[in-house]
Amino acid sequence: MLRYLQRKLHDCKAHTLLLIFLLFSAFSLQAAPDGKALFGANCASCHNPIKDATGPALKGVSGRVPSKDWLYKWVKNSASVVNSGDKYATELYNKWNKTAMTAFPSLTNEEIDAIIKYVEDYKVPGGDPKSPTPEGKSAPSGSNTLLYAILSIILLIAVVVLTQVNKVLGRTRDEKIGVKSPKDVAFFRNKVVIALAAAIGLIGIGIWLSGGSEFGRQKNYMPEQPIFYSHKVHAGINQINCQYCHSGAEKSRHAMIPSVNVCMNCHKQINEYTGAETHPLVNLEGETINGTEEIKKLYDYAGWDPATKSYKRDTKTGEIITKPVEWVKIHNLPDHVYFNHSLHVVSGKLACQRCHGGVQEMDEVYQFADLSMGWCVNCHRETKVQFADNDYYSIYKKYHEEIKEGKRTDVKVSEIGGLECQKCHY
């Protein structure tokens, strides 16, 4: 019972978070290329605006490079610029240990301009007192349930006692003035009592059943992780694309937790947490976390020696001495459920947040949705299939005809068999 109430309270919290997330995501909808978002999605994993990382600090780049066209060419395919024998390019390439920059052929010139604008305008967040405090920061809510429960019980007892007292007093008064009081009905024959008991009983059964059906669900589960890894710092503040780390999400059924060598792509350079002032890391218990110490934990796992800037290697085999991080799994599906991330991300074109919530606002990740079958099914009932753009669905001739004839506007997942058992259970 108590657990149930607690869970309901958590639900409320989740709803507010959802609301905040929706507000937040509404703000980020803009028509013009968003330099900040583009930078976060494409550049942030290697570049910092004001600090050298895997690549050079980008602030002032428009002044450094030979020309704007050169910069476009470089961003779109740096290797070809280097190969063309360009002097500046070759020098740059050699200076950065011959690490070629990833090619971004899909970025348009406008988008590159937007990124450069963002970089040039960039100011150190801590240095600007007017910078807004991050939204959606929710303090851990203390539970008043027990207090309320005790209070309710006291009040209930008071009600019962007072009613009885009132009754006795009334009867004595009646006896005194000689009015014949109606015959006392035993409480278990009292219709009101029976009705009340039945109602309470039914409600109880209802709660018990709904609790039973939630057996094994872990909504709002927020375990302590071996490393205090803040998604907010990475995906929120630094705007790293989710799939930079969870690269399986578009290829496989598993989104994949990245291996430590993926972390080390950036953390070879980034060895301290500098955002403690603007965004102090605080855990659920309210303790402040030292981000730099957490990065050191990563180095332990990765076998990286920050002093010598090299990996510790086995003297015999030459292999890096490393061990995997044993993360606590938050999103657990039963073994008999087959869920495929790539289908939802690639052909369903769903945003990660649809099921995982505003992860970019979570320092510690918790389970946002209850991941129940009802929740899945509901979404499959309501979600429209990407019917027109995907040639795969061209075989559904009847639906296409109906759309053409104006009989229907869309096709729901459930209408192409999305509710059938063996879509998820086999």
């Binding site: 094994g216 430590v260 289908l343 690639v346």
Partner: protein, 1073 residues
Amino acid sequence: MSKKQYWKGLEELNPSVQFQESVANEFREELPFEDISSIATAPTSRRDFLKYLGFTTAAATLAASCEMPVRKAIPYAIKPENVTPGVPLMFASTYVDGGETVPVLVRTREGRPIKIEGNTDSTLTQGATTARVQGSVLGLYDAARLKFPMIDGKEARWESVDKMVTDALATMNGGNVFLVTSSINSPSSLNAVSIFLQKYPGAKHVQYDAMSYSGMLDANLSSFGKRAIPAYRFDTAKVIVSIGADFLGTWISPEIYAKQYSKGRKVSAKNPVMSKHYQIEGMMSLTGGSADERYTCKPSQFGAVASGILNALNGGSANVSPTINKAITKIAADLNANKGAALVVCGSNDANVQILVNAINNAIGAYGTTISMAVNNNTKQGNDHDLNGFAEALKAGQASAVFFYDCNPAYDSRHAKTIADNLAKAKLSVSFNDRLDETTEKCKIAAPSHHWLESWGDAESHTGYLSLIQPTIAPLFKTRAWEESLLKWSGNNTSHYDFVKALWIARLGSQEAYDKALQKGIIEPETMPMAGATFAGNVADATSKIAAAKAGMEVVIYEKIGIGRGASWSNNPWLQEMPDPISKCTWDNYVIMSPNKARELKAEHTDLNEVEREKFVFTLKANGTSIDLPVLVLPGVHDDVVAVAVGYGRSKGVGRAADATDANNGTGKNVYPLLGADASGNTSYSTSVEVSNTGKKYPLAITQTHYNYHSDRPIVHEFTLKEFSSNPMELFNERKHHLEHFTHSWEGGAHGGHDEHKAGGEHEAHAPSGTPGATKTEEDWQEAYRVNGTLYPNHEALGLKWGMSIDVNACTGCGACTIACQAENNISVVGKKQVMLVHDMHWIRIDRYFSGDPKNPDSIQTLFQPMLCQHCDNAPCENVCPVNATNHSSEGINQMAYNRCIGTRYCANNCPYKVRRFNWRDWNEADCFADNKYEDGRRDDMNNDITRMVLNPDVTVRSRGVMEKCSFCVQRLQGAKATAKKEGRVLRDGEASTACMTACPTDAIVFGNVNDTESGIYKLRYEEQKERVFHVLEDIHTLPNINYLSKIRNADEVMSQPKEHHAEAAHAEEKHS
């Protein structure tokens, strides 16, 4: 059409009361409850029961409120670049076992191989696999494999093994060193062997095959001057004659021959031509099952048969037996009429018989047309004379050092006892075998080599046909490639990988070329070079040397499809539990005997009843050895022939499933000691035998009587080629006639607008839409039958509709599909005891039907019908499920939600095809309750941590109390759909395939989207083969999504008994009861 009666076994032909009961009652054992009558007086009263019920419900609620366990998600520390968890990777490699070579693709998940598919790029196998190829992935995870090198039975380090061997070899100073192996066709391995032989000049490489082809090789040497087996082309042969050669099952390269053979068996109304296959044999083989005409004789008569055919070709006559003589005249006429398109093969290991066969092939112009002398088949090269020499040397103490690789002569050779007893005389004995088998346990040193899935390497199964082996997993144990060991002991410290790579870079020119070849897996010529040869064999000499046919009983010692020569297969629970295609027996070997002989020797139970599990045990006495084995009565076997399979009766070290040392629970008996030899020293696989009844009994787990079902209409349809070509529409019209009464609407006069159609008579077909004036075309009555024949709504498949077609004519019954399905779908092995309780779990079973007179073995005709969930659109199982755990998908799949199933088994009871399987026990520790696991010593190794790595992570492991059945490999279909969806394109035909379809060596199974008019299945079903299409039990309107193609036999008649009077009798009985 010809009425005939098919029967799976004699018990069905002469149904006893017990048999009828077993058919009526699928779940034949009593439920494990106390007697019903005692319920009233039971110690647990109804009130107590309710109390317990209440308590357990409350307890469950309490348990439900407990905290969830903390689960970990552990990513790679450093992720390999090409591995994406959840996405399978395919590697081209080559399956090699005892010379048998099959190019394959290995599917790996997260770095562990889980499934093997044939490599369709190979022009030889064309993607064909066998049950053993499919099962070999389980062998990788075999718990009985040696986990480290051993000296004197104790764990040792490789360094100490190296030191011990090199020191010992150094002191021998060119003494007699023997390297004994099975047939090796790997260029790199042979290179390593030759380096070793050069280093130790006294060393000799002995190759032998447990099932020897030495006599055939000898014959080819004297006939053509080349000790090699040529490449056969069954695909170009119009007439195929096999004298005791099981070329579809076990003879030389069965997967290649089955593929080639199937090309000549694909017959359609447009092209009613097929090859003619004669089989003359002693026992009933898999190949005999597919034969058009089959005759039996004693194996000692094979020589007489061969010389009879040779004589008859030249107008002479044969002198074997009246039936055979008649057959030989017919065969000779056919061969003469098809010169240059005929092929004769023989399974005898007698060189003289093989010389006669060569002479026949020469006379019919087979060389250069159906036999290519330009290409050698290198899979069998063993020389029995060399092995004899080795055994003698060992006995005489002249062998100072012995090395064994992929062979087990202390078990699987004629000299087993000599070798086992005298192995200690060698100063140094080393075994590279993967387990502590009969030879290895007698060796001083065990230096286990890798499994092929862990190894680099190459193979040249046919001259010029190369295939490469690459590892799909790092070695699980501390094993080392045997080539690397040989090199090390020859003073060459190259690693095996470097050694193989160097050879291939030298051959192909560059690393890139090698990488490319590895990716493709094979290097082959585009077409097979064909060449003839001049026959120089001495026919007169050979004829004179052929021993006269022996009097009395003879025993045939044969290989089973699943277990083969023994080797590691004996400990493969999948293969042990695979029902033998012909005998349908699992987990044991036995004496196969004809019904007549069984009656004569009182080996039968009352009225040939096969329902009884306990079989009489007989003693076989041959070559001074006697062996006791149970008798299995099988029609189609020559009355004077008994047959026993090798590969059983293994030692403890081979593994728990194979172990025969436990007298009560052992797996079969070793029959290799029955082997004898002919005058030239070649092993002979048949010999005179004395048979006697011990009167004891032993239970056999035969699946023949499991899952019987019956119908007034035939379950299979069979025609002679002549009948079919003269009237291809016979089956179609017959179906139409029988099904037409379903085609009118059930709703009768409710639809007034349809009256005009009704006026046409009661059998009028309604077009589904009721369009006025619809013509009565073929499609119309089928569609009307589908829509109108039922009260249930018609299932509309808007996008995809899966369908499968199974060609009964192409199916040889080999069982590759059964094992492929088992590997793909995590199907449980249940063990012998549970098989006897009809708890076997295979999703696809192959029903083997006989027709003909059991008293006359020559009249027996066999056909195989793979039976799996028919995915009925009007499924009887779906309607009866109380929890809707089984229901229909919009793609035509009868889907099964395991987690919804509460195990009432109503669905299985209501399934007319008997294809549903119930998990009576917790076979795999899949259940959440501890200690609920079913234990049976012989299958328990399936549940250890290593063996469980074989499980397919995309398929749920079912727990106790759950029903399961064929899912059409839904995980593969979903995978293919997902790929197409993500790429934004239409699903292509062939992209989605089932495991059984890809495993099938004869392409008998075709699967695809029936809604796609361009797909193979659509064209087959509605265009190319529409005349042969039928559904099983069509008249009960289940609307299966699986269709079958009728059997066409290229024979004068299909053996049958008139069915009318049987049917009438059955009707009469029904009326009485």
